[in-house]
């Protein structure tokens, strides 16, 4: 039966010809290979987000009067609704985590070198889009924590010179965070961001496919030593099966977290209540949050916030263009990039830890 389907396809599309490259495709195998699973796991978690997101759409209602109640309904009335929402929240957080780990592993294994500069850039765009997913999705349950986090987050956008005010009104759908903001964020979260992400994800995967998986320079040097050859494994089925095992482990971790630590809902947002103590954004914004918290109101003659936002924007831009400073992956630039990577990792980890420990 399967053979007949294959024949049918082969006669019409030249199936055998189409999958021939896949049969020949090989993937480098070495002692750092495991780091390269992080990208695939991020992709897997993204697919879970698409699936669970569609399930949540069956019951979620995006208006200030109904959003909180509809999520409450999903979690208390709908069969396994609590699990679907918990998986969506947990997978979102794990996906950001694996995306960050993927980024740092690419940096430290110097996989961004020529010709893979654009793979890095498209990956960075995907990371920013993921943060956009996180920020817009955080508001959707319309709870107190999310309401004030959104107020602060959008107000930070207002610090951007010249277009800041315009940007805030665009994001909020008005001067204040209201039901209009919820409507917009819902649109961003389920239509705009998925559309853009699909394009960049396709590009990212296409580039990975085109250039193959990078071999770290240190491994490359060892392979040039006499008597040592390149070790490659077949993509199909060897690599694919390993990758699927990694996904299966990820699914196990996700299932355990979602089932044993169901995501909380909190209390419904009230625009006319003071911000409660312990207000905080998602953990992946914490390092920025903590930095803004620690900056004094005025530094010299510039507003502390403005300076903070400008520094983060400049750092982000440099980070995006990182491979262009070191296209060959050698020389002095390489040490600067390594230093920048270690500094960024230390800063993000340190500030995040500090934010959770300090009151």
């Amino acid at each position: 039966m399967l053979a007949r389907v294959r024949d049918w396809l082969d006669q019409r599309f030249g199936w055998a010809e189409l999958i021939a490259p896949l049969k020949k495709k090989t993937v480098p195998s070495h002692r750092f290979s495991y780091w390269y699973f992080l990208g695939g796991i991020t992709l897997f978690l993204f697919l879970i987000q698409v699936g669970t997101g569609i399930l949540l759409l069956l019951y979620y209602r995006a208006s200030a009067n109904e959003a909180f109640e509809s999520v409450q309904y999903i979690m208390t009335q709908v069969q396994f609704g609590w699990l679907v929402r918990s998986i969506h929240s947990w997978a979102a957080n794990l996906m950001i985590l694996t995306a960050f780990l993927h980024m740092f592993s690419v940096l430290f294994l110097r996989a961004y070198r020529k010709p893979r500069e654009l793979t890095w850039v498209s990956g960075m765009v995907l990371l920013v889009l993921s943060l956009g997913f996180g920020f817009s999705g955080y508001l959707l349950p319309w709870n107190t924590l999310a309401f004030f986090a959104t107020k602060v987050g959008t107000e930070v956008a207002g610090q951007v010179p010249l277009v800041g005010r315009w940007l805030v009104i665009f994001l909020r759908g008005g001067e204040e965070v209201t039901g209009a903001t919820l409507t917009r964020f819902f649109g961003f979260h389920v239509a705009l961001l998925p559309g853009i992400t699909t394009i960049f994800l396709a590009l990212h995967l296409l580039l990975v496919q085109r250039f193959g998986i990078s071999v770290p320079p240190s491994v490359e040097r060892e392979r040039q030593a006499p008597g040592r050859g390149a070790h490659e494994i077949h993509f199909f089925p060897n690599f694919l099966l390993r990758e699927l095992m990694a996904w299966y482990v990820a699914l196990g971790v996700l299932g355990v977290l979602a089932a044993l630590l169901p995501w909380e809902l909190g209390t419904k947002a009230d625009p006319f209540a003071p911000a409660p103590a312990g207000i905080k954004p998602e953990w992946y914004f914490m390092f920025m949050f903590q930095t803004l918290k620690m900056l004094p109101a005025k530094i010299w003659f510039i507003d502390g916030e403005l300076l903070g936002v400008l520094i983060f924007a400049a750092a982000g831009l440099l980070w995006l263009l990182l491979p262009f400073f070191d296209p060959e992956g050698r020389g002095r630039a390489q040490h600067w990039i390594l230093g920048a990577g270690i500094f960024a990792l230390t800063y993000i980890a340190g500030m995040t830890a500090y934010a959770y420990m300090a009151k």
Partner: protein, 157 residues
Amino acid sequence: MNSPGRIELPAAPVAPRRRFVEFLLGGGLLASAISFLYPLLRYLIPPPAADLGSDTVIAGRVGELKRNTGKIFRFGSKPGLLILTAEGEYRALSATCTHLDCTVQYRGDLHEIWCACHNGLYDLNGRNISGPPPRPLEAYDVHVRGEEIVVNRRRGA
């Protein structure tokens, strides 16, 4: 360049006409792009909300607040903070933190106004005294009219 059997057309008389056609086409495309983009950009910005624009609001009733406590009241679309100080005096201020737009609260234990988001502190006159807030809170006038506590926006503010 001159491959055999190919007729070279004189370039000079054609060029201006071609440039003119290109200009028309390019200009037309640009004009249509602008005529699409302008409404799109205007559409992205919501119409201004009908703020009833009242400069006066009834913030509460006498006896509603205990001494050394505060409450949030609606001032148009924004929150305001009404405080009855430990000395029994009413104060009213904007409740929107000047730092990043959170809603502040009165802390009876500190006798100060506190923002939970980034630990900003203001004194009872709304002056920013510690933490990240860059500016003081806008202070309002408070009058007691019968049983009602009336809050006015200050003129020229």
